[in-house]
């Protein structure tokens, strides 16, 4: 039995008033709050362990290196992968996708090639591919949506051509919370030997992910949405791509030997981590995974799923509410609008009651165009949210609806 109070107590930021009300933080899709163990890990690192890694002969450097690599181990086993070298520390999801796009552009994509994305995609999983396509006469093909806003997987065989070189899809829609069926996509991709990239920014915080089982080529996510610090994320590469992905950035710390004519690089994850990495961030990312493991990601999914179901039920009782992606298979996110009202107005007034929600297009303008709306109000949960908070939110939402009408 998980004690919700015990969880909440670990997040000091939650214990504050905003505009005179207790803060209700429903913007976890943007970034989650951090438990005290993660905050202290960062501070402890700088107090006791700070040193540059992978090169010093002195004890402190070895100690920092150990912490950094231990974090990589923790992360690898969390995603059920034996070889930690397949996990590269990056600046975050955006950075990871750009690294893949730039790497593939160097020795894999050919002019005129095609990349398949989905209607759900966040701009960060559109723009790097669009940039490449524009510069190389390439083409983006988009998996459309069904009427219930789930992905139309049946369209895949028609989208795939001999020129299709990659399928890059989000695991969970950051706007709708709907979960993509990666297995279905993977099955179709495998038939044609097309690599698959999964954007896990919104799935990794909410559900168990077994990368061995998922068996995709690239998986990316950000620590800061998973109770970890900002500025650090992951790029997972399959064994094959660990050896084949071209470098998009280079510099110190990743070489065996350098002359002005030629450089011999190290192997494994380090090759992709030039310069001094965000060591404290990487170490604290491991600590965030420890936090998740203490509760268990399965339990977190269960808690959040209950919140989603409860909130959807309550929202459904309000005739003024339009909900998007009315599907039970959701990960932590609900998007809605108040009929005839702008999401900005709803969000502004909810904030006055201390309730933090996200409004706007959520960096998914193509999805907004498909739904033919300017934006939505998005509430997104984390393990520390409660049904009481949802009750208060619904009570104030009703008040907001009255104020606006």
């Amino acid at each position: 039995m998980i004690d919700q109070n015990n969880i909440r107590e670990q997040f000091p930021i939650l214990n504050q008033k905003v505009n005179g009300y207790n803060l209700i933080y429903f913007d976890n899709g943007a970034t989650s709050q951090k438990p005290i163990s993660v905050i202290e890990r960062i501070s402890d690192y700088y107090k006791h362990s700070n040193s540059n890694i992978h090169r010093g002969v002195h004890s402190l450097s070895r100690h920092a290196t150990d912490l950094f690599e231990k974090s990589r181990h923790t992360i690898a086993s969390y995603f059920n992968i034996n070889n930690p070298q397949q996990f590269i520390f990056t600046g975050g999801t955006t950075d990871s996708i750009n690294m893949v796009a730039q790497g593939l552009a160097k020795n894999y994509f050919k002019p005129g090639d095609e990349i398949i994305l989905s209607t759900y995609e966040h701009h960060s999983n559109i723009l790097p591919w669009q940039l490449w396509a524009q510069e190389n006469g390439g083409k983006l093909k988009i998996i459309p949506l069904n009427n219930d806003q789930t992905l139309d997987y049946n369209s895949l065989p028609n989208l795939i051509t001999k020129k299709t070189k990659l399928i890059a899809v989000t695991h969970v829609s950051n706007t709708l919370g709907l979960i993509s069926d990666i297995e279905k996509i993977k099955t179709e991709a495998t038939k044609h030997n097309i690599p698959v990239l999964v954007d896990g920014a919104q799935s990794a915080p909410h559900m168990a992910i077994d990368l061995k089982k998922l068996d995709v080529d690239f998986f990316v996510c950000s620590a800061h949405k998973m109770y970890g610090p900002t500025g650090i994320g992951l790029l997972y590469l399959s064994e094959k791509w660990l050896n084949h992905l071209a470098l998009s950035k280079t510099g110190g710390g990743i070489i065996k030997s350098v002359s002005f004519e030629k450089t011999e690089y190290v192997e494994g994850a380090l090759k992709f981590e030039p310069g001094t990495p965000h060591i404290a961030g990487a170490v604290a990312f491991g600590e965030a995974i420890n936090f998740i493991n203490r509760i268990s990601i399965e339990k977190i999914f269960e808690i959040e799923n209950e919140l989603v179901q409860y909130a959807q039920e309550k929202l459904n009782e309000l005739p003024e509410i339009m909900m998007y992606g009315k599907n039970t298979h959701k990960a932590g996110v609900i998007s809605f609008n108040v009929k005839n009202q702008h999401p900005f107005d709803v969000g502004t007034l909810l904030d006055k009651y201390g309730i933090a929600v996200r409004t706007g297009h959520h960096c998914t303008q193509p999805l907004m165009q498909h739904l033919n709306i300017q934006g939505t109000v998005r509430i997104s949960f984390a393990v520390y949210n409660t049904k009481n908070e949802i009750d208060f939110f619904i009570e104030k939402l009703k008040k907001v609806i009255t104020m606006l009408s």
Binding site: N19, Q341, H342, F344, D345, T348, L349, K352, T359, G360, Q374, G375, K399, M403, L404
Partner: protein, 138 residues
């Protein structure tokens, strides 16, 4: 009335609500409903003020040496803020508009909307109104 006179009038009006922010916002929403609407032919892509989460259209013209502003917005709170600004700045001389400090925004408790993170573009609106006025100064 001068810009300062109108600012004073608005301050007095909002003063009636004291600390009751709900009443204040209800008043702002009512003001939004009274906004002098832009002629639909000017509700174009190029008259949209950038930097707003909600869309704001602003049209400026000079009539008898005074700036006349008309606008529309798709969010009602934004519309209320535009209405307040238009009440203060419309029908004023361009020279006076560019000098206006608009301190009343802080006094009536809408200062939070001046923060760049609010993404509602109150700042962009003021900038646009002033730049348009500046363009008419010979």
């Amino acid at each position: 009335m001068t810009i300062e006179d109108i600012e004073k009038e608005i301050i007095d009006e909002f003063d009636l609500f004291g600390e009751d922010w709900e009443a204040k916002y209800e008043h702002l929403i009512d003001l939004g409903k009274s906004l002098p609407l832009i002629n639909p032919e000017y509700k174009t892509e190029e008259n949209i003020i950038k930097g707003c989460q909600s869309r704001v259209w602003l049209f400026s013209e000079l009539i008898n040496d005074k700036m006349i502003y008309t606008a529309d917005a798709d969010a009602i709170i934004t519309k209320g803020m535009v209405a307040v600004l238009i009440r203060v700045l419309s029908n004023q001389k361009p020279e006076d508009i560019i000098k206006a400090k608009l301190e009343f925004i802080d006094v009536i408790g809408l200062k939070e909307h001046l923060s760049p993170t609010r993404a509602n573009g109150l700042v962009s609106m003021i900038t646009k109104m002033k730049t348009d006025a500046l363009a008419f100064i010979k």
